[in-house]
């Protein structure tokens, strides 16, 4: 008693949770009696001081809230209940009283009568309008609790409860309370008998539709508009009885609101109609159709159109799926009328309205079997009739277009209802096939015809082999009369698709046709037309011949042509060899392109072409190189050919198993290093001219022979680690290094050697101590550092050095640092520091020599690791040094940034963090360097950063893009790079213009406005650039400044 008394006094004096806690635990431990507290409160409860009365009740409510339920037995609850109820009447105690009741509402010991008492009390005394949000929330919570655990009692109360609740819920505005109210509403709508209360309940829910709530920026409860929309929908679709009034409401809103509220309305429609059921929807069918139709025929935006189409489907499904009618019986009602309405519009297929009409019909296909069947059986005959109508000939393209998209839709939905759609098309199969193949004949309708055929062919199990054959032979026609427009391409795609389903037709009819169009001899220099033609045929073949059978034919036919063209013994009749070379090059490129596709697809048939293609090519080129008549007069003398051939060799060699590679490389090695060509003889046939000597590495080797080094190189690159070259690697590499420095005559030859060096260093480093040692100790001093050596030789030596680094760097080899250091030492040496800087900068760049497919040892993040080790240093150098040494650092920096993945330097780039400004000013200096390659790369770096910014919409982010600070200098620098007068390289001008275009997308208007006038003026000059591509960029750049 006293204890309770004391607690109360102290709490009333200064309300702290402490006393509440003590009281609560006291009660649970039984050393404080609830009655005592109630009695103890007596004086306060009777006080005239409103505040005291309030406090009194508040205290008790708080205590109850804290006491574990099991410690409040039935009659304790009875006491408390009557106590709090009595306080409900007093305006000054109503709030704490509600809190108390909230506590009680959770108690299982609360009797059913108690529940009823509480509710009636609340209904009687609580005036929601006079309460603030938090207090109203308590009321909703009480009802929510009771609804959760005392539902039965509430159901017994029936209409009394509903009436009372509706009165409370009416006019609620607060989102938090509404979330609770909607939850309550849904339960009532689903579980209670609401026959007489439908209107009331509809009013307190539908009045919120559609939700147009925008949460305040600092909303403590984080309730989104979406939460509310979903909650409201769950009420609106809770009871079919809402049907008629709700549909009327939806229609009214649809007509008035704009997106995105419109989308909400449509989505709600979709969720509700199925619940409201067929009859309600059928009664409103017309109005619904008219409303939705409008959104499709005059769409405000694509999303609304899409949503409306979905809703149309819902309407149809709701009306028709319920009645389990059999498809055959004739359709009545909306679907029939709507279908007819759309088909009428299709009578003018070329008009703009035909498109939406077709979209609707396509939507109908995936509704119910009956509707789908009806649609198909009316649309297809109609379009066929239209196509065949002589008066409609001009519009054939349009009607085929519609037919094509309809069949495509049919195909797609065939996955949904296989039974219905596939079969529903069968009766029209022949006619459809007929009109499409007819359509192929005329240019205007060929495109649609092809896409239609595409749909037919891809429709599972529709066409049989003969019909596919029929399609192929018709499409072949399109190929043979090659066309400017995209139809040719589409036709090829179709044939490619078919070649997957059944290659036989393509290989037996299409390929022969195409090959027949390929001349054996190269079109003469003047004959651009036939050259065009043969290119397009080759292009066709390259798209078509991916499948193994087709590829095999391709290789055979093209190899034959190659040999004819390049055969040393039967050179081109006229002495103009270049056309033949170019033609051969085109053929080789075709083979290479297809091989690349196949390798990326992981086709298993690639490997066998080491014998069927590669060895042939090797013989072709080496045979030419040693031919008795002057090789430089042969087509193969043109290095462009051997480069493509090398690509082919590499592609095929790379997929060989180790032992196959081994034997292959043995032969090449003996040929290239030991000069023994016999090893390469494919057949017994004596293919090499007598006394022919092959020594490409010799100082005196002919260019043609040296060119073939890249075949050797590309083959070596492809080797698995375990495959060994029949020589001491160190010796081999030293030979190559020497060759690359003073033996090789051309870059191609040098690079061939360098690639091998990089690759061997990469794969066999453990056996190369000797080599690396001699490089560091003697080679560097004698060939690179020694200023008395001819500068070109020093440059080549730096090249060999750089490629050695590459081989080490990509495997994170410990020695890398040492090699890099030696290059950086050269930054002081004016004669070669630019080359050294380039080398250091681009050493980590992606290259085709060291790749996964070449089985190289690549450590992940090696580039990042490298750039971390040097980036800051280059930045420092570029900032601190001056003159040529500064430039060297700048050059190294720009090439580094260009060559490593963005993540490797992102932390120093605009778009990322406070350190953003470290790099940008330096890049701007880079733009002042004369070297256009550097400038292009700088601008492209900035571009990629800018694109990242647009992706993250930095412009509208709080801090904005980090380039904003530099907007002015960036703009002015770019303007310097857009004028033909000052910049001769179109690449630079284009890059600069692109940057000027993107800048307004990432920088706020106010930052750019100051220069608007100058920019527009300078850009207007660029509008008159001699290069079309530059003018295009200038136009876009200017436009970006107008908006």
């Amino acid at each position: 008693m006293e204890a309770a008394q004391r607690l109360i006094q102290t709490w009333v004096a200064t309300p702290r949770d402490e006393e509440v806690e003590i009281a609560a635990s006291g009660i649970s431990q039984g050393n404080i009696k609830l009655v005592h507290i109630v009695q103890g409160l007596g004086e306060y409860l009777t006080s005239d001081d409103d505040d005291l009365r309030n406090k009194g009740v508040e205290f008790l409510a708080k205590v109850i809230g804290k006491v574990p339920t099991e410690h409040l037995n039935r009659q304790a609850v009875v006491v408390l209940l009557s106590f709090f109820m009595s306080k409900l009447e007093d305006l000054d105690t109503i709030i704490p009283a509600l809190k108390g009741l909230l506590a009680l509402s959770r108690l299982s010991s609360l009797s059913d009568e108690g529940v009823i008492i509480i509710l009636n009390g609340i209904f009687k005394h609580v005036k929601m309008q006079s309460l603030v949000q938090a207090q109203r929330f308590i009321v909703f919570s009480i009802i929510d609790n009771l609804l959760a655990i005392r539902r039965q009692v509430l159901k017994v109360m029936g209409n009394d409860f509903i009436t009372g609740y509706v009165a409370l819920a009416e006019g609620e505005k607060d989102p938090r309370n509404l979330m609770l109210a909607f939850a309550i509403d849904r339960v009532i709508l689903i579980e209670f008998d609401i026959k007489e209360k439908i209107e009331d309940l509809f009013n307190i829910t539908a009045c919120y539709f559609p939700i147009s709530f925008r949460p305040p920026p600092d909303d403590p409860y984080g309730i989104t508009a979406d939460d509310l929309k979903k909650a409201l929908r769950s009420c609106l679709n809770a009871n079919a009885a809402f049907g008629p009034p709700a549909i009327a409401l939806f229609l009214e809103k649809l007509a008035t609101v704009a997106p995105p509220t419109k989308w909400d309305a449509l989505a709600t429609l979709d969720e509700c109609l199925p619940v409201y059921g067929a009859s309600s929807v059928r009664n409103a069918a017309r109005q619904l159709w008219n409303a939705l139709k409008l959104e499709i025929f005059q769409p405000t935006d694509p999303l609304t159109e899409e949503a409306a189409l979905k809703s149309v489907q819902v309407v149809i499904k709701t009306i028709y799926s319920s009645s389990s009618e059999n498809p055959s019986q004739d359709l009545e009602g909306l679907a029939k009328d709507a279908c007819h309405e759309c088909i009428t519009i299709l009578k003018e297929p070329e008009k703009s309205q035909a498109q939406p009409a077709m979209k609707i019909l396509c939507a109908f296909i995936s509704t119910t079997p009956s509707v789908s069947h009806h649609t198909v059986s009316h649309v297809i005959p109609h379009l066929i009739k239209l196509f065949l109508n002589p008066d409609e000939v001009p519009n054939r393209g349009a009607s085929l277009n519609l037919l094509a998209s309809f069949i495509a839709a049919l195909r797609d939905s065939a996955i949904k209802f296989p039974d219905v759609n596939a079969s529903s098309l069968v009766p029209y199969k022949d006619e459809v096939l007929g009109v499409f193949t007819t359509g192929l004949q005329t240019p205007s309708s060929a495109g649609p015809a092809i896409s239609g055929l595409h749909a037919l062919v891809t429709m599972a199990g529709l066409l049989d082999e003969d019909e596919i054959g029929f399609v192929v032979s018709n499409v072949n026609g399109v190929l043979s009369n090659d066309r400017e427009d995209s139809v040719g391409v589409d036709a090829l795609d179709l044939l490619t698709t078919i070649s997957i389903i059944s290659p036989v037709h393509v290989s037996s009819t299409t390929l022969p046709l195409l090959f027949s169009l390929l001349p054996d001899r190269a079109p003469s220099r003047g004959d651009a037309a036939s050259r065009e033609k043969s290119w397009s045929v080759l292009n066709s073949l390259s798209r078509l011949c991916i499948q193994p059978v087709l590829f095999e034919t391709l290789v055979i036919r093209l190899s034959t042509k190659l040999n004819l063209l390049c055969d040393p013994l039967s050179p081109p009749t006229d002495d103009d060899v270049e056309p033949s070379a170019a033609y051969a090059h085109a053929i080789l490129s075709t083979l290479a392109t297809v091989l690349e596709k196949k390798v990326s697809r992981g086709d298993s048939d690639v490997a066998k072409y080491i014998d069927r293609l590669v060895s042939g090519l090797v013989v072709l080129f080496l045979g030419g190189a040693v031919s008795p008549k002057d090789p430089s007069t042969l087509p193969i003398a043109d290095s462009r050919l051997v480069i493509v051939a090398a690509r082919i060799v590499n592609l095929i060699a790379a997929v060989l198993p180790a032992q196959k590679q081994e034997s292959f490389i043995q032969k090449l090695y003996s040929a290239y290093v030991l000069g023994d060509l016999k090893a390469l003889s494919t057949s017994a046939r004596h293919i090499w001219p007598d006394g022919s000597s092959f020594a490409p590495f010799e100082r005196g080797a002919t260019t043609v022979q040296a060119n073939t080094l890249c075949l050797f190189s590309e083959a070596l690159l492809a080797l698995h680690k375990e495959v060994r070259v029949p020589a001491d690697p160190s010796v081999f590499l030293e030979m190559l290094v020497q060759f690359s420095v003073d033996g090789a005559k051309a870059l191609l030859h040098r690079e061939s050697a360098w690639h091998i060096i990089a690759s061997v260093v990469n794969k066999r480093v453990t056996e190369l101590d000797g080599f690396l040692k001699s490089m560091l100790e003697s080679f560097y001093q004698t060939a690179i550092a020694d200023a008395s050596v001819d500068v070109d030789l020093r440059r080549y030596a730096i090249g060999a050095w750089a490629w050695t680094c590459k081989g080490l760097l990509v495997q994170n080899h410990a020695q890398t640092a040492v090699f890099i250091e030696r290059l950086i030492d050269l930054f002081d040496d004016e004669a070669v520091n630019w080359d050294a800087a380039r080398a250091v900068g681009s050493v980590a760049a992606q290259c085709n020599a060291l790749t996964k497919s070449n089985h190289s040892t690549l450590k992940i993040l090696h580039a990042q690791r490298y750039s971390n080790s040097v980036l800051s240093r280059f930045i420092e150098g570029a900032k601190t040094y001056a003159g040529s040494k500064q430039n060297a650092h700048l050059v190294a920096l720009t090439f580094l940034i260009r060559s490593v993945p963005k993540t490797a330097y992102a932390h120093k780039m605009p778009t990322a963090g406070p350190s953003a400004y470290i790099l940008l000013p330096l890049l701007l200096c880079g733009l002042e360097l004369p070297d256009t390659e550097i400038r292009t790369s700088v601008i492209e770096t900035l571009l990629s950063a800018a694109e990242a910014d647009t992706a993250t919409d930095a412009k509208h982010s709080k801090e904005g893009s980090l380039v904003t600070e530099h907007a002015t200098s960036l703009t002015l620098t770019m303007l310097k790079n857009i004028s033909i007068a000052t910049v001769s390289d179109a690449k630079v001008r284009i890059a600069a213009l692109r940057y000027l275009t993107i800048l307004p997308k990432i920088v706020r208007y106010d930052a750019l406005h100051p220069q608007k006038a100058i920019v527009l003026r300078d850009l207007s000059k660029a509008l008159d650039d001699p290069k079309r591509a530059v003018r295009k960029e200038a136009v876009d750049a200017r436009y970006s400044r107008y908006i």
Binding site: P299, P302, E305, E306, L309, E348, E350, K351, S352, Q353, A354, Q355, K359, C362, A363, G397, A398, S405, A409, S444, G447, E484, D485, S486, R525, A528, R531, W535, L538, E578, P579, A582, H585, A586, S589, R640, S984, D985, A986, K987, I990, S1020, L1023, D1024, P1026, K1027, R1028, A1029, V1030, R1031, K1032, V1035, D1036, R1038, Y1039, Y1042, I1043
Partner: protein, 181 residues
């Protein structure tokens, strides 16, 4: 703009492929890079009808915002004459219906696009295809009165309408991303 409709259901035409140009010197070698369209030597590429067409083909039709002038065959490459040496360009366009009240706005959008996109040295004349419009003379006279054009461009409402039509112009014949169906 008035809400009156002039042609609710116009004919839609397929997009034509952008003119593909051969470099002046005939190519012997098949080039791999697609970028070979620039940097191909320093030879001067004069502005021609196709280039001007690319500039205006994708302007949206003021009445059917989802359709371009090209799709409605309002503009076409053959209707454009460029005399680069004499700095003169003549653009002819064809209203979808002879009573089309949008013709002036269409012509204006073409003029503004060209004003912004062509070198200042060009004098541009714009006119409707002879016989394709009821008030042909009036429309032509208005479109080529630079004072009226200037005044129009100081009318915010009009400019707003124009910008909507011009927003799509930089697509240069590329179709919009395919719709839901």
């Amino acid at each position: 703009m008035s809400d009156q409709t002039f042609n609710a259901n116009p004919t839609v035409f397929a997009l034509t492929k952008s003119a593909k140009r051969r470099a002046a010197k005939e190519l012997l070698w098949l080039s791999q890079s697609d970028e070979s369209d620039y940097d191909s030597g320093d030879e001067f590429e004069p502005i021609d009808g196709d280039e001007v067409f690319d500039l205006i083909r994708s302007i949206s039709d003021p009445e059917h915002r989802s359709l371009t002038l090209e799709q409605l065959a309002v503009v076409s490459a053959p209707q454009i004459t460029v005399t680069d040496q004499r700095n003169h360009i003549m653009v002819e366009f064809t209203p979808t219906v002879p009573h089309c009240g949008m013709s002036t706005l269409i012509g204006l959008s073409i003029r503004v696009r060209l004003m912004r996109s062509l070198p200042a040295r060009f004098k541009v004349d714009i006119r409707v295809k002879p016989g394709s419009h009821n008030s042909e003379h009036g429309v032509n006279k208005q479109l080529n009165d630079k004072e009226r054009v200037a005044a129009a461009l100081e009318n915010p409402a009009l400019v707003e309408a124009l910008e909507v039509c011009l927003a799509t112009a930089s697509r240069r014949g590329q179709p919009v991303e395919a719709g839901p169906y």
